[in-house]
Symmetry: C2
Subunit: 189 residues, 2 copies
DNA sequence: TCCTTAAGCGGAATCAATTCCACTTAACCA
DNA sequence: TGGTTAAGTGGAATTGATTCCGCTTAAGGA
């Protein structure tokens, strides 16, 4: 089951690719992230890109990954109210607020990734959020269908929607958070 | 401001295209809906397709449009609890349940359309849903930020999420509706 | 050290969406 | 009815992602 460690040349290429991709995004935004460009900038063939990252949205997720790991650590084992120690309703609220901020932070990459491959987000990170939130919802409201409720709380923070409201409609993240808080009243009667 | 009626030959082509597209979807599913295919089947050039429908997701929306109009009529002026006559909380609930069913009914096309063009859904239909729901939320809960809350209630019914949960995770529409009902407790204290 | 081989590589080929533009033609007017 | 023209048209060209596949090489056991 342990997929024999990646070859050292492959690891080197992965880093060259990620560095090149990060540079390109920094310089030209997400739209500039063309597979052929990245490959050329990294000095590898496009085939290598695909072998390493699967597709364009895979590359985007890889760029996101580092901050993602920090975030997941924070809500799994960091200090309250995000991590353990606060009561469930407080953690739910803390988590959603933090997720909102985190999503906004890398909005372009997230929009691109979620847009390129349908369901891309439903592998990886999304499932982690969902599992975490399900657990908290179960604690906060034992009778409820936590599985479905967790989706319902996560959905309003989908990157494309957030991007649209923030950029085209003048809505602020704070307003979105406050709106979610309204719904969270369900957990504290 | 009245964009002078579409030429008759153009209207004829629009219908040929829609008919061909509908056939193709019926025969090969949404994945079979390739622009060149549709153009060939309709006996027009691809340029014509783009002039009429803008892009692939535009074509998908056009295919959806007929049922969409019915649906919008139902919640705007149909019988309660969807249309006017019931109290706001009941209409909110009725609307969300109906939207869930309606989305499931054309899930493939909707997933495709929302996936192809980011924000495609945020033109047209989505804004109509949002406006309607905002109004009801304002009635049901005068103090609240109806604009943001409406998004939060609509987001869990996004086609890609629904498709994922229904198809990959064994969730049923009824469960999704029930989950939303839980959140709607906010409107009836 | 040498051999074997699975992992990795490059980049040409493929595939589909979208754009472009020179050419038609329906629609309206004098 | 003939002229004018904006709307409409077809399909080749472009663009960019993704696939394919014959070649290369790191890794590790003999």
């Amino acid at each position: 089951m342990n997929p024999r460690r990646e070859r050292v040349d492959a690891a080197r290429n992965r880093m060259k690719i990620l560095a090149a991709a990060a540079d390109i995004v920094a310089a030209h935004g997400v739209e500039g992230l063309a597979m052929a460009e990245v490959a050329a900038a990294a000095g590898v063939g496009v085939g290598t890109l695909y072998r390493r990252f699967g597709d364009r949205s895979g590359l985007a997720y890889a760029l996101i990954d580092e901050r993602e790991r920090e975030f997941q650590e924070a809500f799994i084992e960091g200090p309250p109210p995000l991590g353990p120690g606060a009561d469930a309703p407080a953690r739910i609220r803390g988590f959603l607020h933090a997720l909102a901020d985190r999503t906004v932070e890398q909005l372009d990459l997230l929009v691109m990734a979620e847009t390129a491959t349908p369901f891309a987000r439903f592998g990886g990170a999304y499932e982690a959020y969902h599992a975490h939130l399900s657990m908290l919802v179960t604690q906060a409201r034992p009778g409820a269908d936590a599985y479905v409720l967790a989706d319902a709380l996560l959905a309003p923070l989908a990157a494309p929607l957030l991007a649209h409201r923030l950029r085209e409609c003048g809505v602020t993240v704070e307003r979105v958070k406050a709106g979610l808080d309204d719904l969270l009243a369900v957990f504290t009667p």
